[in-house]
Symmetry: C2
Subunit: 199 residues, 2 copies
């Protein structure tokens, strides 16, 4: 087995962590060290946020945790459990709905959480780990199983580990794992001076 | 003048791009090359997103653009204009409210945009640039000045450039520029197996 790579095709070079990041569903049967899990959480912790409110919270379960990892796995929807169950580390990423300082709604909580998970993800790459995110989650199941308070939105589930063999995935997934990555052309997401104006 | 540095203090090492990122308000009077602006947009472009919907849009204005840059600057609130006006590159980051595929609301649009701006920001670091984000923006002004359609939320303004001299900032800002960075302890944002359980 060789590790499947999908470097981003860009018009100008980007940093290798960004270039090489993609979202494999295949995970090797290999545990992640405590120090590495701490490192990826530290990477999230130091993200910028609106008013430095740090709305992100991470409930982490490793396979060695047994029932807690099973509870986290149950928080993924059935389709996503097919691959999430291969991951040695599962994390539910949550966003505090309000500012702690004054109780006002924090409109940027999900935005800030997205940035924190991006930093977590790039730190994974730096450590040789990969991440697959799932929006397809069972929020009620995760909330109950992981005791997540109503004050926090449950935003995504993360499956984390060392990249594995695509052919160990079930059903249609080995084929999907090999699909090329695709993005809109740069000119459809970036504009010069005015929305819609050619960059 | 020496460049003010504020490396994150972490319990385990994190990648230098993440460690060294902070949000200066001081910008040097030095233009950013077109290739570097393209590179940071490419970094955003290749972010992961829910259903690969890529809800992010970036309206970019450089100081050389004249009226467009002035229009972008006017999109920051007055307090934030004090430092944004020093930045050679201003970007408004927008999120498409719905999925293009079916018109359904995209609940993860802001989350995905946050991730894209995080990748953009770390690419800035890789190129020797710094970013300061502002949620304190005049959305109506930005929408009109940059012709942003209602279908897109205007989420943040970004000021980008080479780091400058803190003492060139007005009023209270040199002091704020020198304040240490602070974050909640890791144990307040990360839990093991259950929300609130000690990591």
């Amino acid at each position: 087995m060789s590790k499947l790579e999908k470097p981003a095709v860009t018009s100008t070079p980007v940093h290798e962590l960004i270039r090489d990041r993609w979202s494999p569903r295949s995970f090797a049967d290999k545990a992640v060290s405590r120090a590495d899990v701490t490192s990826i959480l530290e990477a999230a912790r130091w993200t910028a946020s609106c008013n430095n409110a740090q709305p992100w919270r991470f409930v982490v379960a490793t396979r060695e945790d047994g029932p807690a990892w099973e509870a986290a796995l149950a928080g993924f929807n059935v389709r996503n459990q097919r691959w999430a169950k291969l991951a040695p580390v599962l994390i539910f990423a949550c966003a505090r709905k309000t500012f702690e300082a004054n109780g006002a709604p924090n409109g940027h909580a999900w935005y800030d959480l997205g940035a924190a998970v991006a930093q977590l993800t790039l730190q994974c790459l730096a450590l040789g780990l990969v991440v697959h995110q799932a929006a397809g989650i069972e929020r009620d199941v995760a909330r109950q199983g992981l005791a997540i308070p109503e004050e926090f939105d449950i935003v995504v589930g993360l499956a984390i580990g060392y990249q594995g063999d695509p052919d160990a995935l079930p059903e249609d997934l080995p084929g999907r794992e090999r699909e090329p990555r695709a993005r809109k052309p740069l000119g459809e997401i970036a504009y010069s001076g005015k929305f819609g104006a050619s960059y």
